[in-house]
Amino acid sequence: MKKESRIPLIRGLRFIFIIFFLFLAFVPWDRYFDAGVDLKTIGVGPSLQHLLGTDNLGRDLLVRLSSVLRDVIVPIWLTVLISSLAGIGIAIIVLLLSEENTAFKRVIDFLGHGFSFIASVPIGILVFLLAVYYEETGLRMVLVGLSVLLAIRSYLQVFDLYAEDKRLGYWLAHEAQGGTLFSRLIRYGLGMRWKESILLALVFHLQIAVTIESALSYLGFGIQEPQASFGNMLASHFDMYLKGDWGILLIILIVMGLTFQFPKNVAIIGKYLRRKFIFVK
């Protein structure tokens, strides 16, 4: 099959994955399946009573995974979205303010070095240290750490993009004609050239946030049992799949894969739909 003819197929698959993820996350599975501990059904395979089987305490896997998506992943993504957008917004405001006030610009330059330093430190280690320092497990510390760090990364990204573009011909021409910096940032920056890079960074932030939360929960510093998360589910079933029970590992990995790819799939399908239905009009 030629590469070009594979594109609609891949696009279709992406769309199916999006639907499947939403179906998994937002259908109230706990109404249809028993989510409680049942020691008689430990490690049972998929059946009509348990569509994806049960875990090491006999709990329904579908209900557990659905609660991971709904109660952990969605709040993380919302936080990352809000913090990234806040970072972009703050960067725009700071750029506007520092244009007129040189003293303020110096302070911002100084702060920028500090932010660059924070951004260059591994996010995983920083969030781990935050969770350990505040001696608090659960989602809150992960969300605080991720939102601060990803807001800083978005802030710095806008500054980098501005530094690259501010000497472009049409930016200078617009400035010479008396145009304001605000309109340049909105029209030429956010509205045109920066859109793609910001979207890519956002997708990457959403993916990396899930990775970091899973890693922290795996290490025992994120979400704790009985609340479910990818990390603590992988950790608690470690002995099961070492004994050769691959089924549970496979199911968790498939749902994790769906989750990682969800932001990217939405971005690609959204871009395609926009080009097809809105941009043409």
């Binding site: 430190v121 001696e135 990396i208 890693a215 795996y218 290490l219 992988l234 990995l253 990682f260 990217k264």
Partner: protein, 226 residues
């Protein structure tokens, strides 16, 4: 502390060796592919490469652990440091290093970077002149492209590599700085934890400095070509 430092250093050293070998292999494959297709490769696949940064090391580690244990009977967990020989320790650090290089996007980033750099430098006038006079341009470009791609990719991937280090060491039970940090965090020994983090940060800064120095030296060399 030295024992922990030694394991982490071994894993990082393996990461470095794997990345160099992979860079050579990728460069050769890029040249073969270019000859075979009779055109310079495009940059397609870049988004594919970047998506691998988000593959959690704990997933890859778990799969490898089970796969090797079930199919080949090889236990990838670290042996007890006291009973293991030096050769055994060096050999066992390979798989965690492989997982790290894969899950921090180093392997895929390298391929992407080499593809791009090869296409870029092959279109430069000096390269066209060399091709026209029948000189071996691939040999001339090899060192330059490999150094630049390696330093660039290491710079990009280092934070992710160090971030995943704790997870990889804890999954493989590798007695390194990451595993020690994890144990100390669990027992709330903050002073010792700070010491371990200090060594980790020092190692990170050291790696970053090397990558930065190579990068700036290559930059100087490139200005000569331009």
């Amino acid at each position: 502390m030295f024992k922990y430092f030694e394991t982490t250093f071994l894993i990082l050293l393996w990461c470095f060796i794997i990345s160099i070998l992979w860079a050579y292999l990728s460069y050769s494959l890029v040249i073969i592919k270019t000859r075979f297709d009779n055109k310079v490769m495009d940059r397609r696949g870049s988004s594919f490469a970047s998506s691998f940064v988000a593959v959690p090391a704990l997933v890859v580690s778990a799969i490898l652990l089970v796969f090797f244990y079930k199919n080949f009977g090889i236990n990838l967990l670290f042996p007890l440091h006291f009973f293991a020989s030096k050769v055994q320790l060096i050999a066992i650090a390979f798989i965690p290093a492989l997982v790290l290089t894969f899950s921090c996007g180093l392997l895929f980033g390298l391929v992407q970077s080499i593809k791009f750099e090869y296409a870029y430098w092959l279109s430069k006038p000096f390269a066209i002149v060399m091709l026209a006079t029948g000189q071996n341009i691939n040999f001339k470009l090899r060192r330059l492209i490999l150094l630049k791609s390696l330093s660039q990719t290491w710079n990009q991937c280092l934070p992710w590599l160090f971030g995943e280090l704790i997870v990889v060491e804890s999954v493989f039970n590798a007695p390194g700085l990451g595993l020690d940090a994890w144990h100390l965090a669990k027992v709330r020994d903050f002073v010792a934890l700070l010491e371990v983090i200090f060594w980790l940060v020092l190692l990170y800064i050291f790696c970053r400095l090397i990558a930065h120095t190579i990068s700036s030296r290559v930059g100087l060399k490139l200005t000569g070509y331009l």
